[in-house]
Amino acid sequence: MNMTKKRNGSEAKSMFSQMSASILVNAVYAMINYPIVLISTLLAPFSFLIVITFVSHGTLAPIAIGGALIMSMISSGTSLQGDLSHLKNDFKLQDMVVSSPTSSRMYLIGMALSEIVYSAPALLVLAILAGIYISASAIGYAEIILVMAIMFIFSISLGFLLSTFTTDVIQSWAFTGIVSTILSALPPVYYPITYIPLPFRYFAYLSPATYAAEIVQSITGLVQFSSQTLAIDWVVIIAVAVAMAILAIKKSRWREI
């Protein structure tokens, strides 16, 4: 009894070690050794935000901020895919880790969290801007965080899944290009969907980001959606995230065949 308790304790600590290794390698050490990385990750989500805000004379700022929050979650998955492929194919680091008593789950959870750590500076600034420009209730803010969490799970599952198919960097870039077009260029994340002329609007609904954006946009109060539309939005993003996560877990292979 006592023995098991002790073993569980040290197992938990070793799982924490394993997770923290992923975070250190993929985010913290990069930021410490190359401070310029901090600036570039800080700036990343702001390009669109700034353009949309100026073009709309500031009226769309709350929507654009909400959009930037969603996009930073979605780009986590794209980055994860690139980083996992990089460590696996270019450094053969994953092979080293597979031939080790490392839990594959801790390795991957750590990698996923490292993407959050990596974008933490930008998220912090965006959160402050959201607090200033988005006037929502506490529930509204909680809903935004929930949407972000769901989009995070969706995108890291997708990123992980794609990384298992890549064998070299060119493939990895190709996947990144396709996925980010579908996930971020297509959907009206930084502006209301009504800005897209009708036949094209249907294409936007191919991307889960569109449904997430509708929820966040309605929270800002600048765009109105029927409660039926919003219910569908929630169902779609949850379903897509769960499906993608199950697929990722099912397809994941620590040992290759």
Binding site: K13, S14, M15, S17, Q18, S20, A21, S22, L24, V25, Y29, A30, N33, Y34, L87, D90, F91, K92, L93, D95, M96, V97, V98, S99, S100, P101, T102, Y107, R255, E256, I257
Partner: protein, 308 residues
């Protein structure tokens, strides 16, 4: 003492020919085992299967009684692997790299740091532990990877072509380290430098085209080649059978005569008189490899009448 047992391992990648075909052998899991073979022979495939990175298509293997296929989790705490073409991560210092690797293996941070320092001293890289990787020489980087494996405390080390691409001095350096490490570790290394296997290995396996052609100590392999001398003929000419010895056509298309010392002397005198370019030396691993991994000689390639 434990054993490495490989039992009928076959690997066929999807849509490819066999990368490994029915490999079976067993050796004590101690000292240095060198698997030699040309590029594409299947060395990396075998290492990745034994180091639990890759599943075999069929067959079994075990190390110290732990089954590679059915019990990989248990084996993983006993092994560490430096894959072929593994590189230190560019944005990490050697210390950060080794410490992270140890954290991944489940060590606490303080313990990881202590072990990283200790391994760095063993490998002689403690001076470089805090410089960024891109400032380090290729030899030092390779040592960082080996140091990470050593710091893990794993008894069994898989090193896939650890010295490929290193200059002779760095290579000699790493050889000395491996000779030191083999006292405590079982080292499974692959190489295409025959000299390396000759210098380091307690046991040598020769892999060619997915098949194990020979396995044993250097002396066993010498015995397999049967003759103590090797003459390599470098000129193009029709070949003649030796009186006492074997004529071999190598993978490069040249001919080799394996023969006795006395015959070697006689044949070489003839070759000089005929103005044939050749080299002659006591059988080294190079020559044994050439002898074992050979091509068949068609009957019509011979000069029918003459013998040397």
């Amino acid at each position: 003492m434990g054993m490495l047992v490989v039992d009928n391992i076959t690997k066929k990648y999807e849509g490819e020919k066999y990368a490994l075909h029915q490999i079976s052998f067993s050796i004590p899991s101690e000292g240095i085992f060198a698997l030699i073979g040309r590029n594409g022979a299947g060395k990396t495939t075998l290492v990745r299967i034994l180091a639990t990175q890759l599943e075999a298509t069929s067959g079994r293997a075990s190390i110290d009684g732990i089954d590679v296929t059915s019990d990989p989790e248990k084996l993983r705490s006993e092994i560490a692997c430096v894959p072929q073409e593994a590189r230190t991560v560019g944005w990490l210092t050697p210390r950060q790299f080794i410490v992270s690797y140890l954290l991944w293996r489940g060590f606490r941070y303080a313990e990881a740091k202590r072990r990283a320092d200790e391994a760095a001293r063993t490998l002689g890289i403690h001076r470089y532990m805090d410089s960024t990787s891109r400032k380090l020489s290729g030899g030092t980087r390779r040592k960082v990877l080996v140091a990470a494996a050593v710091a893990s405390g794993a008894r069994i080390l898989f090193l896939d072509e650890p010295t490929t691409g290193l200059d002779p001095i760095s290579r000699g350096d790493l050889w000395r380290t491996l000779m030191y490490l083999k006292k405590k570790h079982f080292i499974f290394l692959t190489t295409h430098y025959l000299e390396e296997a000759e210098k380091l290995a307690d046991k040598i396996g020769i892999l060619e085209n997915g098949k194990l052609m020979a396995l044993g100590t250097l002396q066993d392999l010498r015995d397999k080649a049967k003759f103590p001398y090797s003459i390599k003929i470098l000129s193009k000419m029709t070949v003649k059978k030796p009186k006492d010895g074997v004529l071999v056509k190598g993978i490069d298309g040249n001919y080799q005569i394996a023969t006795t010392e006395k015959e070697a002397y006689r044949i070489s005198t003839r070759l000089i008189m005929d103005g044939v370019r050749f080299s002659m030396n006591p059988m080294n691993l190079d020559d044994i490899f050439y002898y074992i991994v050979r091509k068949p000689i068609e009957e019509d390639e011979y000069d029918q009448e003459e013998k040397w």
